[in-house]
Symmetry: D2
Subunit: 188 residues, 4 copies
């Protein structure tokens, strides 16, 4: 599509919406040359004590009818702070009423390095080399997946590490969820 003479590409990937800040052709070039800065957020529900009781996973239908599950993930724009990118992607995926409690510390609980080669770190992105800062983010409000194709399920720590659920995540995101559970002391 074109908007005001600038080509805007609506990438269908859940994790990335390309804005006018970078034309697609240039982003494609950059993606072949530079690691891209990403943020991942694992949405959780906590009880009154602050303990994680469930993990939110986004769902979408794959062309073959199977279900894919994923955490929130997306690019950081030029000039955008990590914290703003986190909130932008959370709102995009969970709606404006999710009331995320982004941690006070800017330090991610881990770094996920996604490579086109799945062997390097186990985190795999066929499109690019992305370095993602990963956060666990409690949601205090109502989460409503804000794009048609997406749904959202809340799973207990036991459920989320089950073989069934892990089989429905790709690119190493099942491992990312387990790292998050370990970080919050809830790895079964």
């Amino acid at each position: 599509m074109r908007l005001g003479g600038v080509r805007i590409d609506i990438v269908t990937d859940i994790t990335d919406v390309i804005s006018t800040w970078l034309p697609t052709s240039e982003l494609d070039t950059a993606r072949a040359r530079l690691p891209i800065v990403y943020v991942d957020a694992i949405p959780v529900r906590v009880n009154d004590l602050g303990e994680v009781i469930s993990v939110g996973l986004l769902l979408r239908a794959r062309p073959d009818g199977s279900i894919s599950r994923a955490v929130i993930s997306g690019r950081v724009f030029y000039g955008e702070r990590i914290r703003d990118a986190l909130l932008r992607h959370i709102e995009k995926d969970l709606g404006a009423m999710a009331l995320p409690q982004v941690p006070a510390s800017p330090t991610p609980f881990t770094i996920a390095e996604y490579f086109p080669d799945p062997e390097i770190t186990g985190f795999h992105d066929p499109r690019q080399h992305a370095v993602s800062m990963v956060y666990v983010v409690p949601m205090a409000g109502d989460c409503a997946p804000s794009q048609n194709a997406l749904d959202l399920v809340w799973l207990t720590p036991e459920e989320v590490v089950s073989e069934n659920v892990r089989a429905e995540m790709t690119g190493g995101q099942d491992r990312l969820v387990r790292l998050a559970l370990a970080f919050v002391g809830k790895l079964p």
Copy 2:
């Protein structure tokens, strides 16, 4: 005072209320022999982005009329989880409406080792050797100091590291506050 034959000591220190769980004489003995498990909480206010905008300090009048400022600090009871101890001390000092958002991770951002000898670590407690797990805790509700002698002030990061304020904290708590500000990326 005596209650059911067991001597109960109401310690006037802000950081510790001795319960029947341990008679004072035994606690005194233990304190001379064992490190005591503590929790410290630095109460903060955050904005919608989760960034720390102010730090809460408890105030009390000293016998000589000067003001002492402190963070929330207290003992962990036998059988009590760290998380429950944190919430108990926060409620005791800031009231039941403070709505603390205790972090999802059980990992403290630092450890403060208090010794009777002020030279060992810079953290000083003349009564005991205490090992304190220290957390930054955003408060989402109304904080009302719940004991007569106490008041509470909210200070910006710049104010809280000023010479004036630092001079009113003892035992190394001014340093603890600066470590907390560093952890949240707000050390001036």
Copy 3:
């Protein structure tokens, strides 16, 4: 045994050697009344890049002939810093030539709360309520188990999370090892 009129108890548990700093009867009393400060260390080998390639587990024979595996764990003495306690327990279990690289930061990667009731946190110690600060410690030297009954094995991340090995750890230490692997980004 008695030494200078003070009863000294040599506890046979690998994780605790009681010194004259606290007579056993008083420690027993304290253990029934107060949480005890502990440190746990997960010994690892790292490659030139600093990546964890194997995890060390202590072995001992149980009375029934089965094998029990454990990480390094022990009490912090009165007046002793966490860092000194860590090094003391590492030397006791792995010998004086282990050359441990204790992390520069005093912050443990997680907290393990051991309770006599195994249901509370999953970390279980029938003797006491212990609050343990847990560290991953690379060993640069030769590790030689320094007590007769103990041996030491180095296992890859894959091996150490296998069902067989996990079945040989008790008290939740298998989970502690997985939390450590998650922390270092090596959870399979």
Copy 4:
């Protein structure tokens, strides 16, 4: 200069050596459009207990004859892991005999977001928006600045936070050093 028809720019900045992996013109374009992935390393010396006893700062002469001090900082290449980038920049700045002990955990102790606008975060880079993962790295070997213009000084925590030394750092690196000292529990 030109090499095989591709213009190669030798950037004189200490923190960046542009390779053939990305021609300068494209890097310039990308820098105006995308945040760039960086690593910063604060070199330290530790004692046998693992405690930080000094911090290493690189020195160079400015055109006006004044001295500028800096930590190790540089870009992550396409296809390069964070850990490899860290070691590459450390070797480039401190030589091949520095024997860096890169932490076992991939998690940086903080994130520094450098912007062309110095007001946004306090971390300033006039050339680009860089997102840097920051690590404290103990050096076990001999550190010899490996480029002509550079020297290296080791300063105690007290010295490194002194007004004089802070005045010789730019772009917020003095604050980064203080965040590192806080992380290792050595902020004066």
